[in-house]
């Protein structure tokens, strides 16, 4: 066994902990949850990328890319839509966040709709649909440790090592340590990952042009949708892009990053930069996977294709890929655990008992980190294939937060009754169709989340027209417009009064 990959992974952990050593310690729950809204665009951009790009990309998604080729590029299509969503939700999320001391996505929705029930409901939705991702990522960490050490460290102990490191820095440093670590992880995974892919392309395929020439001659099906051996109608492509795009920013671990930004400009710069960086990075990843399809050895274990080609390239390449996967995975896991622990403390415990002190809120969040870590480890011993299956389902659930968020921010008539009924009914329909899988789902190609989303929008709009906007909402909109009026320049020669 070569210990170079193991040394490289441990070095990555050591450098990461060294970088964040001064961020370990929080002064208040606000600091734990939002890092006192102190981060600029560079940190936020790489934090969004590090949280968003999962370690399973090199296992589960690699399997998809190596098997079906072009179809895996749905990720860059949905990424840009996700960032457009981020761009549009940013202003009011930031303004209301700062103005009213809001720290989480669920708190924002509870505040907008004036409903503790909705706040708790969305918090629970966020946790339930996030857990499968957390488990997949922890299992991925264990898998990488086992592969990189040639079995010296078993998958279970790899998972334990990974989760301990994350639990320590999340519980001690909260959002501040998560984002600081994310910047390091983001730089590693973007630049390290891209460099490694380009190395593979030139080492094994003689460059991009000759790689494409080989694929078009031998495997032309890899260059179009849906890919070789798969006969899926186009609405499936439409569904996965639209559902992932609209739902991609609604994960609490992504959305809550908005509360850490120091201005609207910061958030919007991140929304502009992140998809550009991601598109370049992911395109090179998918193209490499398409080329790797030509190796018969990878087709017997498509999820291990990248690890196999890295191991063929020597211990340094394997170690670097291990570090890149670990950076992706730790970034996601830390973001998820921080978001869940914040939600448990802020949106569940503090709603049930409003007398919880600031100090106790931090304590509850830290305890939650430990509990979540142990529970995830327990489920991480289950079958990974099942977990990936569950993770993919989660978009059918999280997408139902989209109408609640977007109508809540942009439509005065949206009310709590519509939001609660729409959320529950939409999710129920979506899950029913997913688990009972009637023939028309595969026949037509539209995925369950599309039906659930449509139902939820209809319910919210119908219920919205059944009653007038509340006085609270009217006041909230007026206050927001006043804030805009005080800051925004009106492009006119003649000063005019504000129309609310």
């Amino acid at each position: 066994m070569n210990i170079i990959p193991l040394i490289m992974i441990f070095t990555f952990f050591a450098i990461m902990l060294f970088i964040i050593r001064k961020k370990l310690g929080v002064s208040s729950f606000e600091d734990y949850a939002t890092a006192n809204r102190s981060f600029g665009f560079f940190a936020l951009t790489f934090s969004v990328l590090a949280t968003w790009i999962v370690g399973a990309m090199y296992t589960a998604w690699a399997g998809m890319a190596v098997t079906y080729g072009f179809t895996a590029l749905y990720c860059i299509a949905y990424a840009i839509i996700t960032m457009i969503v981020m761009y549009y939700v940013a202003p009011k999320t930031y303004i209301w966040g700062v103005r009213y001391g809001i720290k989480t996505q669920s708190e924002l929705l509870g505040f907008r709709y004036q409903s503790k029930s909705l706040r708790m409901l969305t918090g629970i939705w966020g946790i339930v649909f996030t857990i499968p991702w957390l488990i997949v990522e922890i299992v991925t960490q264990g898998y990488v440790f086992e592969y990189a050490t040639g079995g010296l460290i078993s998958q279970f102990w790899g998972m334990v090592l990974g989760i301990i490191v994350v639990a320590v820095f999340v519980s001690l440093g909260g959002m501040r340590s998560v984002i600081t670590a994310n910047v390091f992880q983001g730089l590693i995974l973007i630049f390290g990952g891209t460099a490694l892919m380009i190395y593979f392309v030139y080492k094994y395929f003689g460059g991009f042009a000759s790689g494409f020439e080989m694929v078009v001659n031998d495997y032309p099906g890899m260059l179009t949708y849906p890919g070789p051996g798969w006969d899926s109608p186009t609405p499936y492509w439409t569904s996965i892009v639209i559902l992932s795009g609209l739902g991609g920013f609604l994960w609490p671990w992504a959305y809550n990053k908005l509360f850490a930004g120091d201005s609207i400009r910061t958030i919007k710069v991140s929304a502009v930069l992140a998809p550009i960086i991601y598109a370049i990075f992911f395109s090179i990843f998918v193209v490499t996977a398409i080329f790797i399809h030509s190796y018969d050895q990878t087709l017997s274990d498509v999820q291990g294709a990248f690890l196999w080609i890295a191991s063929e390239s020597g211990p340094i390449a394997l170690g670097l890929l291990g570090v890149v996967i670990m950076a992706s995975s730790v970034g996601t896991v830390s973001g998820i655990i921080q978001a869940i622990s914040t939600t448990i403390s802020r949106d569940l415990a503090q709603v049930i008992n409003r007398k919880i002190s600031d100090k106790k809120a931090v304590y509850i969040a830290r305890i939650s980190v430990v509990v979540i870590s142990i529970v995830s480890l327990f489920f991480g011993t289950a079958d990974l294939g099942l977990m990936v299956f569950l993770a993919l389902f989660t978009y059918d659930g999280i997408i139902l937060l989209f109408p609640v968020v977007i109508l809540g921010l942009y439509w005065k008539r949206a009310n709590k009754e519509g939001a609660i009924i729409g959320l529950i009914a939409g999710t129920a329909l979506s899950m029913f169709l997913r688990f009972f899988n009637p023939n028309f789902i595969e026949g037509w190609g539209w995925q369950p989340g599309v039906y659930g989303l449509t139902l939820s929008f209809i319910i919210m709009i119908v219920v919205g027209y059944m009653k007038n906007p509340s006085a609270f909402v009217q006041k909230l909109w007026e206050d927001t417009e006043i804030i805009y009026a005080e800051n925004v320049r009106v492009p006119t020669l003649k000063p005019r009064s504000r129309i609310s």
Binding site: F70, L73, I76, A77, I80, I81, I84, Y87, P91, Y94, I95, V98, R99, Y100, G101, I102, E107, G110, F111, Q114, S115, K116, R119, F208, F212, V216, P220, L223, T224, Y225, P233, T234, W237, T238, V241, I242, G245, S263, I264, R265, K268, V272, P275, I276, A279, S283, R346, D347, V351, F472, E481, I483, Y484, E486, N487, V488, R489, P491, R498, I499
Partner: protein
């Protein structure tokens, strides 16, 4: 006036993003581009088309960002309000 300008600007860009997204994903339009020939910039047409749509969406975001920057919408100063009895739930 102010709210009208902001809403119009947001709506125009939203329509632009929606149109490009429809071209990028919806049956019929996407199917037209889902082929290997012709090759453009060394890429099969399917990939070129997808990258073009993504580039157009990114360009839209950049232009919207530039306009909002000129209007001052990106540098809004917000004063925190004493909200201990309001934040995150029903007003008591």
């Amino acid at each position: 006036m102010l709210i009208n300008i902001r809403n119009k600007k947001n709506s125009i860009f939203l329509i632009y993003y929606s149109l490009i997204s429809v071209c990028m994903t919806f049956p019929g339009l996407f199917d037209l581009a889902n082929r290997i020939e012709p090759w453009v910039f060394g890429l099969p047409f399917s990939m070129f088309y997808l990258f073009l749509c993504v580039a157009l969406l990114c360009a839209g975001l950049c232009i919207q960002f530039f306009i909002e920057s000129k209007l001052g919408e990106l540098d809004i100063e917000v004063t925190p309000k004493d909200n201990s009895n309001v934040s995150g739930g029903e007003e008591s």
